[in-house]
């Protein structure tokens, strides 16, 4: 018996758009589970998704999905469920009609297509709106419709290109729950996002992509650890920021202090974790009321900059 082919096997895949290199020598292997594709806008995530789903071809390199070259194997699409980046629908169709119609195109009988469409719409929490025209759907409902059509035929691989974009908190919860159920049932998932916590909600395995290159791959905890050990700016909004700053100045984890405005203290933390511990202690001791704590360096862009610095 031969071993099952990898779900995704990309070997040195490069993709050019004219003279613009969207992907550069990308090598990825995915055997199952959930793989999060993380990167800022324009990093090459959607290009990789489009390659995997056979919407475009690699300029060079070798790519197989479930053992097939995606662009030239229409039969592979029976096993793929895709939430594409696009937001174009047949607006006069209802969600139910849309999902059932796409199932019929995949050669399900009318009765089977209707039953599967109903089940998929229920799975994503869209049943109450299933018979309304898509033109009247909110962004979150449109995202749910995309997910419903992607899961309705029980694919082996789900390719989700930013599936939470524009979704409201309740829709996000429904969408993530539906994806998790599929993962638990054994469906492989490749999901892209430019928001770290969206990926964290589903998987620990990530692939960081930036300017068309794979910057890092591995466990999300490693990424968090890296973020926590690197210097970071913390913006603390408080009623008496100067007193708070004076109390923290002696802390070895604080590399420097300045003030952005009358109520905002900027802490340059050499060990952010230690500052996160020291800050509430100092505030409590002084009776200072802290109303906000943010870090511009928590962004994914900052993580990429850190990784690039380390290269």
């Amino acid at each position: 018996m031969t071993a099952a082919p990898p779900v995704i096997d990309a070997q040195g895949v490069t993709r050019l758009y004219g003279r613009f290199m969207a992907l550069n020598e990308v090598t990825v292997r995915m055997d199952g589970g959930v793989l999060g594709l993380l990167g800022p806008n324009g990093a090459g995530k959607s290009t990789f998704m489009k390659l995997v789903t056979g919407q475009i071809r690699p300029t060079s390199g070798r790519l197989t999905v479930l053992g097939h070259a995606p662009f030239t194997a229409p039969a592979l699409r029976r096993h793929l469920g895709v939430v594409p980046e696009l937001d174009a629908f047949y607006e006069d169709m209802t969600g139910r009609q849309f999902v059932a119609w796409l199932l019929r195109l995949a050669e399900f009988t009318p009765a089977d297509a209707a039953a599967r469409a109903a089940a998929a719409l229920d799975e994503v929490g869209l049943t109450p709106h299933a018979d309304k025209p898509i033109a009247r759907y909110s962004k979150g409902m449109r995202q749910k419709t995309k997910l419903a059509q992607a899961v309705a035929h029980d694919p082996r691989l789900l390719v989700l290109d930013e599936p939470l974009t524009g979704a409201d908190p309740i829709s996000r919860r429904d969408i993530l729950a539906a994806i998790r159920r599929r993962v638990d049932a054994g469906t492989a998932v490749l999901m892209s996002s430019h928001v770290l916590y969206e990926i964290e909600a589903l998987t620990r395995d990530i692939l960081l992509i930036h300017r068309g290159r794979i910057l890092a791959e591995g466990n999300i905890e490693d990424l968090r650890a890296l973020m926590d050990t690197r210097p970071r700016r913390l913006f603390v909004t408080a009623d008496r920021p100067r007193e708070l700053g004076a109390a923290l100045a002696a802390d070895p984890a604080v590399a420097g202090l300045d003030f952005r405005d009358a109520s905002t203290l900027v802490i340059h933390a050499s060990a952010p974790d230690a500052v996160y511990d020291a800050l509430p202690r100092a505030a409590r001791a002084l009776g200072v009321r802290v109303t906000g704590l943010t870090s511009p360096d928590d962004s994914l862009e900052h993580v990429f900059n850190l990784l690039l610095e380390g290269r």
Partner: protein, 260 residues
């Protein structure tokens, strides 16, 4: 891989419903009505000889030179061009639908609808001469066949245009205006650069104005078999090229933000 019967029926039904939408029917049916009125008006001339000439002109210039290419362009753009621009084609092609069969099926539906939309004009062209007691050219009976062939050639040609050019509809309009209408008016061999000249030749209308001294001087008849061959070859080549192009076309490549 071929399209299954169920897939073909589903695609044909949805595409026909899409094409038969009142918004999509209004413009081509309006153009057809205009040609029908022109054909009837042309035979109401008091001078029978003049009426004959005016009628031939109405048929040649308005039906063959304007209506037929226009409705063909209109529906050929709907085969993939419109959906390519909107992005909705991606949904269909992410399913196990063979591309060539998909394109061929939709092109066939577009051709049928383009022919049907010409029906009012065609009916007027066939009936008007009899109403005015005009001697009908025997070739007029072939008008239906010429409409079927001509529309097929134009649909195939504009389908190719829609796949090659981003603004295919505009390119098609320029072709109709400059080549089919203007060049098609030029007497002699140059006029045969326009497909409608071959269609007119098949109907025996190409030299309807030969009484005009200039036209008579440039008179250069082409065997109808040659015109038939030109139309068939242009149509077949355009369709073949469209199938090849569409099979290899990357539907998402032009829209990605990463490419900008």
């Amino acid at each position: 891989m071929i399209l299954s019967l169920a897939q073909a029926r589903l695609l044909a039904t949805s595409f026909t419903r899409q094409l038969a939408h009142p918004r999509r029917l209004a413009l081509p049916l309006g153009a057809a009505a205009l040609v029908a009125v022109a054909a009837v008006a042309s035979v109401t001339q008091s001078d029978p000889a003049g009426a004959d000439f005016a009628f031939a002109t109405a048929v040649r210039d308005l039906h063959l030179g304007f209506l037929m290419p226009f409705v063909s362009l209109f529906y050929a753009m709907a085969v993939v061009g419109d959906e390519l621009d909107r992005g909705t084609l991606t949904w269909v092609l992410l399913r196990p639908v063979p591309r060539r069969a998909f394109l061929l099926g939709r092109a066939l539906a577009a051709w049928l609808l383009a022919v049907l939309v010409q029906a009012p004009a065609l009916a007027a062209i066939l009936v008007a001469p009899a109403l005015a007691d005009l001697p009908i050219d025997p070739a007029l009976g072939d008008h239906v066949l010429v409409t079927l062939l001509g529309t097929a050639t134009y649909v195939a040609l504009y389908l190719l245009v829609s796949l090659v050019f981003r603004r295919g509809f505009f390119v098609g309009l320029v072709h109709i205006g400059l080549v089919e209408f203007v060049v098609g008016l030029v007497p002699g061999r140059v006029g045969y650069l326009a497909l409608r000249a071959h269609l007119a030749n098949l109907l025996g209308l190409r030299d309807a104005g030969a009484a005009n001294p200039l036209t008579a001087a440039l008179h250069s008849p082409l065997p109808t078999a040659d015109s038939l061959a030109v139309l068939a070859v242009v149509g077949a080549l355009a369709l073949w090229a469209s199938l090849v192009l569409f099979a290899g076309k990357e539907l998402a490549a032009e829209r990605t933000d990463e490419a900008q």
